[in-house]
């Protein structure tokens, strides 16, 4: 796959994930594809971004000449401050997250299971010495929207009967958005609610080892960037 193609896929996923947000939502965007979501929020929506290193009302990336090394997001990228912003310590920030005060988070994944388990921080057999705020985010946010490519870079499945990588959290995923489909999770069950018009249900099942039901009102969506 070309880099340009990869970028198109990532933006396609981010655009669709953005549609899961609701006007007025308080949202935390994780690293990777989720950081792109901010580009696709409908212009008439007010979305209030939280970053776990201690700020609400995160604004867009500043111009290079107004970068402040002490105004960064959790990915350590420069950000700006919107009117109505507030700063708080990390303790308050995680009270917000773990206490259920975020309407939604959009987060990446290494694996998602059919029960809604998420694996996103470690790979077996590799020393992983970083977990950061992902576990608190996924446990605490009211809606957990996973935005990820359907397969790994090597073409292996990520959406599985059960995760083989160490878990971030059990049964916390609410929505899974990939370049091919959208799934909802409820009470340990996974349901396909949207499929790209560029593939058949059989083709989708072939790259999705997880067991899932099909919603009676299944939508077929045009995802031109994902056609291959």
């Amino acid at each position: 796959m070309s880099d340009m193609y990869t970028q198109e896929v990532r933006h396609s996923i981010a655009r669709r994930a953005a549609q899961e947000l609701r006007d007025g939502d308080i949202v935390n965007l994780g690293i990777g594809i989720p950081t792109l979501v901010n580009n696709y929020i409908p212009s008439d929506f007010n979305i209030h971004l939280h970053t776990e290193n201690g700020m609400l009302e995160v604004g867009p990336s500043p111009s290079p000449d107004s970068v402040d090394p002490n105004l960064i997001n959790a990915s350590r990228q420069p950000i700006s401050e919107l009117p109505g912003a507030s700063y708080f310590d990390s303790g308050m920030s995680f009270s917000i997250m773990r206490g259920g005060h975020l309407d939604a988070t959009v987060i990446g994944a290494l694996q998602v299971s059919q029960a809604g388990d998420l694996a996103s921080w470690a790979v077996p057999g590799r020393t992983v010495l970083g977990v950061g705020g992902a576990m608190d985010l996924v446990v605490g946010a009211k809606r957990v929207i996973v935005a990820t490519t359907h397969l790994t870079k090597d073409g292996n499945p990520k959406i599985l009967p059960s995760c083989t990588y160490p878990l971030t959290a059990k049964q916390e995923v609410d929505v899974l958005v990939t370049e091919h489909a959208v799934f909802h999770f409820s009470e340990g069950q996974m349901t396909l609610v949207e499929i790209g018009e560029h593939l058949t249900l059989e083709e989708l099942k072939a790259i999705t080892p997880a067991g899932f039901g099909v919603h009676p009102g299944l939508t077929v969506a045009k995802r031109k960037e994902a056609i291959h």
């Binding site: 609400l56 708080f88 009270s95 917000i96 773990r98």
Partner: protein
Amino acid sequence: MPAIRKTAEEAMEYIRSGNTLMVGGFGLSGVPLKLVDALVKTDLTDFTVISNNIGTPGQGLGKLLNTGRIKKAVGTYFTTNPDVGTAYQQGKIEVELLPQGTFCEALRAGGSGIPAFYTPTAAGTELAAGKEQRVFDGQSYVLEKALKADVSLIKAHKADDLGNLVYYKTARNFNPLMAMASDLTIVEVDEIVPKGTLDPEAVITPHLFVDILVTG
């Protein structure tokens, strides 16, 4: 969602009989008196009230008590209103008394996703009776549960139009903790200012904890 503006009377439409309510303030300082008065004027009843005090005789929550609408009171110092003792002795209300530090910590826990914590306070005393006790490093601690509410009625000094809050001197007290620990937070403020006019470093309650603003 950013906070919405309502009158005190309109704000009462978000409260139901039987709700658990948190009400801010220490003595009468930092009590949202206008909201409490509006609540007294409704015919809502059967409340569990989580508040440090239950007002003073005939003032603040004392009015709600005297009209028989409080089923249970959870707090630390009801001595400021002898009517609470009278109602208790007549079997009209249940009372749960907590040390004030435990009360605060339970509010913060309720807003922070922490279901329970251990505290040294009250270990070995009557107020720990019936509670689980546990030794860490040779010292006794009491297991205490988080407090949560359906609705909190709090008092702040200024809000911006998103709902960010700042407080005034010792009227701050329990208000920021209660804003975190309830499903719906109704705030009585002295003044609403445009967003961007409060110092972001000095905001005490970020707007995500605030649902409804009422000017007092």
